[in-house]
Symmetry: C2
Subunit: 198 residues, 2 copies
């Protein structure tokens, strides 16, 4: 997961990797071009040779990560039977590395930019579609194998789980409280099973 930007093959990718690192250490709010420069071996002004502006770098970084995710899980993983349950579990894992947590925090901050910036908005539109479609595909695969209930609506369930997980990530990133985490995990699993089985 941290080797997302393992070996940048390009100056462009070097910049994206530096951006990723700067994002992880400073978060979006404190992220400046200079701070990206600190993580980048070469000159700051070189960034403007490869990207239009600061937001272009950030959005490109997001796009890169999403592409990696998409191609990493290219074939619909029928392999894992309880794939969604495991995703819920990992998002709501009470003990979660601070690195992962700071990445989630940054993603939450970045998503908030989509409230006023069309380029971020376009990205998260696509992002939501990718995850939603993946959830739906997993459910459909389960239906095909006969493990899941054929009369449930894969798209509706996928959208609901995805929406709830966004809420969970936002809540984690923006509050100190944690008591809700276990309860929400239990309830989401219960909801999912109720829809998917019987």
């Amino acid at each position: 997961m941290t080797q997302l930007f393992g070996d940048p093959s390009d100056t462009r990718e070097e910049i994206l990797a530096a951006t990723y690192r700067a994002l992880q250490t400073h978060g979006y709010a404190e992220l400046t071009i200079d701070r990206i420069g600190e993580e980048f071996e070469k000159s700051i002004s070189l960034i403007y040779h490869h990207f239009d502006d600061k937001d272009d770098v950030l959005v490109s970084c997001l796009e890169f990560m999403l592409d990696q995710y998409e191609h990493g899980h290219t074939g619909v993983s029928v392999d894992e039977p309880d794939a969604i349950e495991e995703i819920i579990e990992s998002v709501l894992d009470p003990a979660c590395s601070s690195e992962e947590q700071s990445l989630v925090s940054s993603l939450v901050e970045l998503r908030a930019q989509a409230a006023h910036d069309p380029e971020y908005r376009a990205h998260f539109d696509r992002s939501d579609q990718v995850f939603r479609d993946r959830f739906a595909a997993i459910i459909r695969a389960g239906i095909d194998t006969g493990a899941y209930n054929a009369s449930c609506d894969p798209d509706a369930v996928a959208d609901t789980i995805h929406t709830a997980l966004i809420g969970a990530m936002v809540r984690r990133a923006t509050t100190d409280s944690t008591e809700w985490i276990n309860a929400v995990e239990t309830e989401l699993q219960a909801y999912l099973r109720a829809q998917i089985y019987t």
Copy 2:
């Protein structure tokens, strides 16, 4: 709802009202002290006589709104039998005034600040508690009247609904897509009823 800042009784409240208006027209990202000043009859520097800094104004504005909400709904409304269903419906109302929508957008942007700013974080900690407790109280009231199932866990259901609604608001504020909205509403109502009845 818009008359939240109906008649500011104070210079302090005038500033908060101006902040609210500036927030609604510009959003958080484009919000400057000058823009607040445009909505404020008196001088910009007067703001610093009443508040520590820019964020203090914003957080105070949030606190004011939350207080208003809290005191407006002080008594647990047992009056409405399907209060939670209606709240879900209103948050996921497909046709939603652009004023309400822009307020939600701003709230999403403001919540994102809690990812790195302790003062925002403290506010949204309290905010979550207020809403969660309200949901739980409604459910408990339903159990007391015998309308709801006594063996469900009010706190867990409350936290889950609240988390999902945060996700829904964030998704609405940060993407253009709307197809998911109706599906998610249906599913949330289904989940709620499954937990609350029988």
